[in-house]
């Protein structure tokens, strides 16, 4: 489905604004701290129910207001959709076509989405958790069941960790929730294997285009469950059996540390240039190319899986890109068929009010106005 319009009310610093999303590129231009990213974030929030940047629900509501509201209309092959999200400090409510949304999984698949923000640079050298989350978000979109497996795993993990902290050490309950971990964990790992195998070729190709002399970029799944066979990808029941075994073996350790020390909640995703993990050496410039290649690879694969270009949200898209690279990037996005919504402090080279398929909004003190 394609996102067509975005309306926000009392969201962050924006009192009220409407954005018509153009078929190719919608560009929000303005100085820093005027509210450009907020409009982008409202769109991401309505489609994923997660803020782009870590935030409490109350942070999303404009100061002095009680409720933030975001409306997004989508068109698709069949009927149009209306997504209506209300956020208060105490909770949020989502209506899809006027009906209360009970399972977010039914919303998450609606629009293929790739987000690229300056914070993403931390993916290259930061904690494994960032890379796991990024991979899982991609897998949700090609295999919706992955969301449930990830949630089931987290819930079983929290339950088991609580049991490990209790004094009675009820073995039967520990076994039952350990078994749940083995089942959900194997599915979680299978989804991650799938995601990596989809991204691997596209990532290497995209990086070669972005940085022809930058070395060969590869991505590999590094499951926390040691063993080559785990890394090579087991079928689900074999992976489940391995997890079960690992949990059994580690039980004394788990009881001593009072937490679960084995399993996919400790997985990592390794990015490497010419075989050397990028965590150890990547410069700021290298990190940028790596993350951009990753997001482009996601866009490529989503397009292949869905048959339509994804919605690409890019915060501060052109930061640190010279004009040549910036226009090459926009040409690439056009070729993928991505619908881009981007922010920046200046207009990209070659973009003007007359460019077909593009909309330009200028943003100032929380107000958005159409410039073409």
């Amino acid at each position: 489905m394609l996102a067509q319009t975005l309306t926000l009310t009392d969201f962050r610093n924006v009192e009220r604004a409407g954005v018509e999303l153009a078929p190719r590129l919608t560009f929000l231009v303005g100085d820093n701290a005027q509210g450009k990213t907020n409009a982008l974030e409202a769109l991401a929030y309505a489609l994923t129910l997660k803020p782009l940047r870590p935030a409490r629900l109350g942070d999303l509501v404009r100061r002095g207001a009680s409720t933030a509201v975001v409306d997004v209309s989508l068109t698709g092959p069949a009927l149009p959709w209306q997504i209506h999200v209300e956020v208060e400090a105490g909770g949020r409510q989502v209506l899809v076509n006027g009906k209360l949304l009970r399972d977010p999984a039914n919303l998450l698949g609606a629009v293929a989405l790739v987000a690229f923000t300056p914070d993403d640079l931390a993916l290259v050298k930061g904690a494994p958790e960032l890379r796991r989350r990024s991979l899982d978000r991609f897998v949700f979109q090609v295999q919706p069941g992955h969301l449930r497996h990830a949630r089931d795993y987290q819930r079983a993990l929290r339950a088991r960790n609580l049991l490990l902290r209790r004094l009675d050490r009820d073995r039967r309950s520990l076994d039952a929730f350990g078994e749940m971990l083995a089942i959900a964990g194997a599915r979680l790992m299978a989804g991650r294997h799938l995601g990596i195998s989809l991204l691997r070729p596209a990532l290497t190709r995209r990086h070669r285009q972005l940085a022809p002399d930058g070395g060969e970029l590869t991505i590999d799944y590094r499951p926390a469950l040691a063993g080559e066979e785990a890394a090579a990808g087991l079928d689900e029941s074999a992976a489940s059996e391995r997890l079960r075994q690992a949990l059994q073996e580690a039980l004394p350790l788990d009881l001593a540390r009072r937490q679960t020390c084995r399993g996919p909640h400790l997985d990592d995703v390794e990015l490497a240039l010419d075989g050397v993990p990028t965590r150890r050496f990547a410069s700021q410039g290298q990190s940028r190319s790596i993350v951009l290649a990753l997001r482009l690879a996601e866009a490529d694969e989503l397009r292949r899986a869905r048959g339509e270009g994804p919605l690409l949200l890019a915060d501060d898209l052109l930061a640190e890109l010279d004009d040549g690279r910036a226009s090459a990037l926009l040409t690439t996005l056009d070729a993928i068929g991505a619908r881009v919504v981007a922010t920046g402090t200046r207009l990209p080279p070659g973009l003007s009010a007359a460019t077909a398929g593009c909309a330009i909004y200028s943003v100032r003190a929380g107000r958005l106005s159409r410039a073409n």
Binding site: D103, A105, N106, G109, P144, G145, R148, D152, R155, A156, R158, A159, R160, L162, L163, R166, D170, R172, S173, D175, A176, F177, E179, M180, I183, A184
Partner: protein, 198 residues
Amino acid sequence: MAVDPLRELCDLLARLPGVGERTAQRLAYHVVRQSPDYARALAQALLGVVDGVRTCSRCQALTAVEPCAICGDPQRERGVVCVVANPQDIASIEATGEYRGLYHVLHGVLSPLEGIGPEEIRARQLIARLPGEPPVREVIVATPASVEGEATALYLAGLIRPLGIAVTRIAFGIPMGGEIEYADKLTLARALGGRRPI
């Protein structure tokens, strides 16, 4: 200050699950407009529930008689017990007309996150009744398809299998008459995962 009886009724109704302030008000005004006989009958029924309903000593279902109608029915197959999380689940399974065995109500599922452990669900009562006369040969676990429901099923299986009694789990999937194109994705994924040879 005198208590406003209408206000009081609204407040009490609004405590019911799924009933908000506005629905409570609508219900309260509706009761007032009906003949007083209806309100008296309703009050009587509420009292009857409080005074007359307890749990069946065998299956832990809610009942006015001891044992409950199902446990006391000589036509029911006594070698099969279906374990459910909540008393109202029995009505759903009975409505299918497919099941002729007995039930056992846990009154909850294992949930460490909510502080519900084996002592809080009626698992001990289940184990105690299995040897009975005749002995139970199959336990069907029909707890919900959530993490906690599944873990409870696994927990019970761990207790019961060593006794030489078969433990089975109900299948989850596409509703009958349901078109595959309308099934939500997770149900469909689950139904595919639980496929069987034909």
